[in-house]
Amino acid sequence: MKETTPIDEKQINAAPLKSFFVSMLTRDIDLEDSILDLLDNCVDGILRSRPDEGNQPYYGYKAEIRLEKDLFLISDNCGGIPWNLHKYAFRMGRDPERQSDAPGLVGYYGIGMKRAIFKMGRNCSISTKNINHQYQVEITQDWLQDEYTWDLPVKNINWKGKDGTIIKITNLYSNISKQFEENSKKFTANLERIISTHYAIIIEKGFEIKINNQIVVPRTTKLVFDSHQLEQTGIRPFIFKTITSDNVDVFLAVGFWRPPPSENEINEEKESTKYSSMDAGWTIVCNDRVVVFCDRSELTGWGEAGVPRFHNQFIAISGVVEFRSKDPGKLPTKTTKRGLDSSAPIYLQVKNKMREGMKIFTDYTNKWKGREDESKKQISKGENLPLREIRQKSEKLSMNTTSRTVIPGEQYRPNLPKPELPESTARRISFVKENIKIKKVAAYFGDSSLDPSDVGEKCFDLVYQEAK
């Protein structure tokens, strides 16, 4: 047996490696999402400097993003990073000592900003002014490669203009630079699409976002609301609202954003391969941030518990749920990444209501199938309203209060028009014939441009006259 060598050390190094952090942190997040994290910080900045809730709490605040071959820059006037936060703001992860600084902030885990920087490039300066401090923190390639130093240099600067922050990242990684240069059209289009949906509500409430000097126009869901004779039948959304015992404010509305498509329209859509149903599906909003946009899967109750799976015939149905809380921990969001926590109890409770509401509109669609002309007429009596206005309208509706159901709250169940024919005595007939033949028969009826379904119906009526 060989003799063993005794060890001298009393301790061994278990410190994390900076390079490990940097690469792990950035690996499982998309570039677009990490840019959204930076916008989230701007919004947190606004809430910190101006916590009052008005109709347009973000009015006057803006963020500008610039994407160039070797530059990512985001500048904002959202209040800056308070100097008293410097002990936390630049560290990776949340210091347990740190107190929540303002109600309603989404930032919690202390990684968004750093992750975005490390994802994009090797050099970065963060300049900021908050009330009476104006300073700049710099991250360099040398710092990134040095496994031992965790301190960052900071210095006073002269800041002009309103309190705000500029994050400037250079020495970009080549995969990032490619997105900003060679793929720039595609990348900016996609980024703008994501921002226009995910920040739609915040932009509508006054925040201005520019990408390479182009203002981002918000894209919100607008549901058809027939304001005439509210006690009568009419196309209106299903509405549910409540404040949970945890003090989370919930508002849900689901309905039509357009008339249901006719069979012909559906067939046409099938032919174009990459058809996107645009505004169909569920959008879920937590503290004004959209976490799910136009989802049409089980995540939002499609194809579950009696609700049919999403299919092109349902492209007219769209819904929104808004969750709001002063304590972001109570919201059904994922921990470190953007997205819905679909197993959060509050979400599962609300999902019942989502399915309940959605079912009303899938039923309507099925009942009026083949008579889309009539449903088109019914829908054109209403107008498309944004959620904010639907909220106002809901004050005038007679809501039904429940207190002993899975999720207590108030709800409005619209009384949608029903087809006159009782369903059970009528059946649908459909068949396929060659186009030229249909045209021929249509011409026989005096109009070769007749809709195929009309041609079929006329044939039936004709024969029925004989058979009667």
Partner: protein, 328 residues
């Protein structure tokens, strides 16, 4: 087909001729023309086939035509023997779907008459299958009137917002901005379609997966009663832009960096007028005033328009087709 008869589309004829000019410069990129196959929708008269055969008899040609009647008419107009030109009675989308990727060089002209999603998806698929040195020309309808009605009343306004919604729904994934709408100005509409084509290129030949890209060579918009947009480019290594620049630097109508499309608007001149102007061409810009003086009369409403028209004529005069009474 609506609009003036095929032969009378002078702006389209110039666009077609621009392809001849592009092909002429391909050897500068170390491509032998006899390595190429030309694929196109020849139309009933196989006009582009006739032209290519006239200039570059070494290029093999394949024409696809979906409509049986037109296909039979093409057989009648075939300008050369079957070794040189194959006529296929098939749909272009199917043709592209069934096309095998090869190292052989191709020149494709996707000459659509409408504006459909399929134009973009066909182009996207084709970009992925063709080899370095291949040329693609794609022509699509770009008529603002398809999307623009003056919103006089509520019904109009509704109809208009439906049309725009429809446009966004169909083309959403290729729009450079989600809020983009078709402009009522043909130039802006054409540029929007060009930006959409650029996104197709960045999707299909994304910088993070390949060093091949599609460098545009020319882009035009014109109307022979219907507005059209037409862009031509080459599949080439991204890192070798200089070679492309070099090959086309002498060509007046090049557009190598996705600049705004160039307007083709050739005036309708009589043969006599043209023969008269020909004597004073080519010459340096601006040519409108000089040619107007030479002509001695106005060919459009006023001086400004006449000079614009003559400038256009001077630019494209070599691409101007002759319609002569001849022996059939």
């Amino acid at each position: 087909m609506a609009g003036p008869s095929y032969h009378m589309r002078i702006n389209k004829a110039a666009d077609r001729f621009s392809l001849i000019e592009i092909i002429k410069r391909l050897p500068k990129l170390k491509n032998n023309l006899d390595e190429y196959t030309y694929y196109g929708f020849g139309g009933p008269f196989l006009e582009d086939m006739r032209l290519i055969y006239e200039f570059y008899p070494e290029i093999r040609m394949i024409s696809f035509e979906e409509i049986r009647k037109v296909f039979l008419r093409q057989k009648f107009h075939i300008p050369c023997g079957p070794e040189q030109l194959t006529l296929e009675n098939c749909n272009v989308t199917n043709f592209i779907d069934n096309l095998e990727s090869t190292d052989e060089k191709s020149i494709f002209w996707l000459d659509y008459t409408d504006l459909d999603l399929i134009c973009f998806t066909d182009f996207e698929k084709l970009l992925n299958k063709l080899s370095q040195g291949s040329v693609i020309k794609i022509t699509i309808r770009a008529d603002p009137r398809d999307y623009w009605i003056i919103p006089k009343n509520i019904e109009n306004r509704r109809q208009k917002s439906r049309m725009i919604e429809n446009f966004r729904r169909i083309f959403g994934e290729y729009l450079p901005r989600p809020s983009a709408v078709p402009s009522w100005k043909s130039e802006d509409f054409a540029y929007l379609l060009q930006e959409m084509m650029q996104i197709v290129v960045q999707n299909s030949l994304s910088a993070d997966i390949t060093n091949l890209t599609f460098y545009p060579i020319s882009s035009f918009y014109y109307s022979d009663s219907t507005w059209m947009f037409s862009i031509t480019g080459i599949i080439w290594p991204r890192t070798d832009f200089e070679a492309v620049e070099d090959a086309f630097k002498d060509w007046e109508f090049k557009n190598l960096v996705w600049n705004r499309p160039i307007h083709i608007d050739i005036p309708n001149l009589s043969t006599k007028e043209r023969l008269h102007l020909q004597k004073h061409l080519p010459r340096e810009r601006p040519r409108g005033p000089v040619l107007r003086a030479e002509m001695g009369h106005l060919i459009d409403e006023d001086i400004i328009r006449t000079e614009y028209a003559l400038e256009q004529y001077a630019a494209f005069h070599r691409y101007f087709p002759y319609f002569l009474r001849g022996i059939p």
